[in-house]
Symmetry: none
Subunit: 225 residues, 2 copies
DNA sequence: TCATTTCTTTACAAAATCTTTATATCCTTC
DNA sequence: GAAGGATATAAAGATTTTGTAAAGAAATGA
């Protein structure tokens, strides 16, 4: 069977070793690079299915490498970050990162994120039916069903949900969402977002206090699962 | 009752007269245009159920008019041709004509072709009976029954209801509905829509204040269920 | 032609949605 | 466990959108 190739770009040997073991034991083929330069070269010669990129690299900043890669590489790039680096994360997502993981990370979460990222870029975007648990979003009919019952959403609520759902599994920054839904010029109005996320949760979550669909990524944005 | 509208675009007055008599005596409403330009204008202001288009027009060639119409008009267009013009016919079919008739034509064949063309584009090949709760819409007969009693609708009311019902469950935007019923150029006249939705609701809903069939999607359009 | 129906337009009332403010809650860090 | 930042929620205006009635214009049919 074909093993998906994953490229790790990180300067810390222990992290690389840890990732290698976790990934290989789960059926992935792994390549490693200790520097950004080396990583770009490897990616160019052996385009992998997914790249794990450390945000803090010694030679060139991870952000720089990310931009370079995004010049031609269109598959998923997951950033590896340390805690409390929201600003870096937001920049990275703006630069085209697919997702991020905060060190130290649990293997389960790592694998889940990788699976979801790979799935996302293999499935065709053409589908207009998004099904997520008890939710069914029909982008063509512009309707949303929960447990098979059509629920009533306002224009903004629907737009927001559709945006999140189209990017299932991926973190969308506050700024990005505000730009998409309200337009440029509203990118600082994060309170709008909170209000509408709250009302959406009331309508689509079983328990709005423990949301299963719209997940808060504190300091960064929201994620739909 | 509700008569389907047919637009004739032909420069010869005798042909128009002949068609008009044949069609009106068979329950159609007829509009006439002597030039291609005039025809396009009429079609845009009163989208008919079907268009009869002469292939040899004096101002612009019928082929040109056909292409223009097909830019936005999706129902049937039957070309009227003279004998021995196979090449023209092939071009016309390539340009999106639904069918053709060779002059001189027998009335029986004309009516048969028209019936079949209208049937094809009103029903999407299959059923022409839409049943929704206590409503029964017959797209071929252009009648609507509520609780088994035929109710009286104006042409516009019927067209609107049929459009909504054919797209059951799907949100249709104001602009789309206006374009389909009133023609391109009416896409900002949302007030027309409100007036007609109100009068439709009065006729088909049990309680017009709590409509079950025509649902308002605020800021977007209407949905039929 | 004239009466009748249907469509268009206007005006205003009603409802829904959005924005803003205020306050509560959660979470991280010290 | 207290402080501070970020997030959640409720509820009040403010605004936009929708519904309805009714009058004038146009089209239709006898």
């Amino acid at each position: 069977m074909n093993k998906a190739e994953i490229l790790i770009i990180d300067d810390e040997p222990q992290i690389r070793k840890l990732l290698q073991i976790a990934l290989e034991s789960n059926g992935y083929t792994v390549r490693e690079a200790a520097t950004g330069k080396e990583g770009v070269l490897l990616a160019a010669n052996h385009p992998p299915e997914l790249i794990l990129l450390d945000i803090g690299l010694p030679d060139t900043s991870g952000q720089e490498i990310l931009k370079q890669l995004r010049g031609w590489y269109s598959k998923s790039i997951i950033m590896l970050t340390v805690q409390n680096s929201e600003a870096d994360i937001v920049t990275a997502l703006d630069n085209g990162a697919s997702d991020y993981l905060t060190k130290p990370f649990r293997t389960g979460e790592l694998l889940a994120r990788i699976r979801s990222s790979i799935r996302r870029n293999t499935t065709g975007e053409s589908n207009h039916l998004l099904s997520c648990g008890n939710l069914l979003i029909d982008l063509q009919a512009r309707t949303v069903k929960r447990n098979n019952e059509t629920i009533k959403l306002t224009t903004t609520e629907y737009n927001l949900l559709a945006l999140l759902a189209r990017n299932e599994g991926r973190v969308l920054t506050h700024q990005f969402i505000l730009k998409e839904i309200w337009g440029i010029g509203y990118q600082t109005e994060t309170q709008y977002l909170r209000v509408f996320v709250a009302s959406l949760r009331k309508k689509i979550e079983d328990d709005a206090n423990h949301p299963l669909h719209i997940i808060t990524e504190s300091g960064v944005g929201y994620r739909f699962v």
